[in-house]
């Protein structure tokens, strides 16, 4: 039993390491891969080429035990004496604490503090993602795959089968779409040297900026900055919402490594059904 668990844990560790290497990483917790010897790809017109798959696809090679049974138990830390101690409790509570450990917070005007607190405390019932709403920009984060043409960038996201088409031909915002109520906004991209700067407006106010109840208005503007060094992509978003924020909020940069598997694909996402909501009975988040 013990030996099987050890084997399983060892294999899991390898898969975890491989998956994390390929998937999202907060720049504050992961340094970019050593790409010093990898030239940054460029298109025929000399622009940085962001094309590529920027997420992993999972996988691994764990084996069943000699009886064909599979036992995989998610790890959690032990409990302190006197602490409530049940499976997953610490795992989930650690997650909740971790979500609040980021010192980079949006600074709301004082008259909005009570609303943020209410949304946070009641997040199990009010978080739009719990209700299967799209995350929206910027909560959706960096794209999983990018297709670049001379006039457009196409961002593909695994979650919710989401795509964004971002013109980079120098046009301004569309006067109709920029007044729409969109989850991903009306986006246009412009080059600042080797950085692609994406400006998005025209948002619904039904999404959050992040898990702790950070709301925004439908007059929000999001500016994303995209850079590539070798095979490392860096994505960073700044939220401008002067109706509720005291100052623009620049989120932590996210770095992703290029998926080197030429056969890696984004597969379609499946529908979301909010079946948990009817059974959540406490406010504890995690």
């Amino acid at each position: 039993m013990m030996l099987r668990r050890i084997r399983t844990s060892t294999s899991i560790a390898a898969v975890v390491a491989a998956t994390l290497w390929l998937t999202t990483a907060d720049a504050t917790t992961q340094q970019p891969a050593s790409n010093g010897n990898v030239a940054t790809p460029r298109t025929a017109d000399g622009k940085v080429d962001f094309s590529g798959m920027w997420v992993g696809t999972g996988g691994g090679d764990l084996k069943p035990d000699e009886s064909g049974n599979i036992t995989v138990l998610s790890r959690g830390r032990p409990c302190h004496p006197g602490q409530e101690c049940k499976p997953a409790i610490n795992f989930e509570r650690d997650s909740g604490v971790r979500q609040r450990m980021n010192p980079n917070l949006p600074r709301y005007k004082p008259e909005h503090w009570a609303r943020v607190e209410d949304l946070d405390v009641n997040g199990n019932f009010k978080d739009p993602e719990i209700k299967c709403y799209p995350a929206g920009l910027p909560r959706m984060g960096a794209p999983g795959k990018i297709v670049q043409t001379p006039t457009e960038l196409i961002f593909l996201y695994a979650s919710h089968n989401t795509f964004r088409v971002i013109p980079i031909d120098g046009r301004d915002h569309d006067p109709i779409r920029s007044q729409d109520l969109l989850y991903y906004g009306d986006s246009i991209g412009k080059w600042e040297g080797d950085t692609l700067v994406i400006d998005s407006v025209g948002f619904t106010d039904e999404t959050w900026l992040a898990w702790p109840g950070y709301f925004h208005t439908n007059n929000m503007r999001v500016v994303e900055r995209l850079t590539r060094q070798g095979n490392t992509l860096t994505w960073q978003a700044t939220v401008h919402d002067p109706e509720v924020l005291m100052e623009p909020w620049t989120m932590n940069p996210v770095r992703r490594n290029l998926n080197p598997n030429p056969k890696a694909l984004l597969v379609e996402d499946l529908p979301c059904e909010s079946r948990d909501s009817a059974h959540i009975v406490t406010r504890e988040r995690g």
């Binding site: 138990l73 049940k86 997953a88 059974h279 406490t282 988040r285």
Partner: protein, 136 residues
């Protein structure tokens, strides 16, 4: 890929994904389930739903007096299942012995711990008991 190998891959992927920095909404599992309790039933799997944010397995249990009870079990996310090629290993219409952490609100809903299928093999997908010395 053999089904059981695929199943183990699923579990690893589930863990890997759950270990990654959180990017999506999440609620504490203890807000919904009594994680320190274990209940069980034997029922026929009637539906396997590949839906976000958690896959669902539906069962119908027939009590000794002939009455029918339906159960809904929650587990891993569908992307993890698919990445491991595990979509078709569950056998609709076949009996399963299921153990689970029950819903706090008393509904016939649970967080699945184990499923023992008609071939006698057991899938265990849960969280370690932090009081178990083997886990520390």
């Amino acid at each position: 890929m053999k089904p059981w190998t695929a199943c183990s891959v699923l579990a690893a992927v589930v863990l890997a994904l759950s270990t990654a920095p959180p990017a999506v909404a999440h609620h504490a599992i203890q807000a919904e389930y009594e994680m320190g309790q274990t209940k069980g039933f034997t029922g026929v799997m009637t539906r396997f739903a590949m839906i976000n944010p958690h896959c669902r397995w539906f069962f119908e249990e027939t009590k000794a007096d002939g009455t029918k009870v339906t159960w809904e079990m929650s587990g891993a996310g569908p992307q993890a299942l698919r990445a491991a090629g595990l979509v078709r290993i569950f056998q609709i219409g076949q009996p399963y012995e299921v153990t689970f952490a029950p819903a706090k609100n008393g509904a016939n809903v649970g967080r699945v711990r184990t499923m023992k299928g008609p071939d006698g093999k057991v899938i265990t997908l849960f969280h370690e008991d932090p009081t178990d010395p083997l886990n520390n």
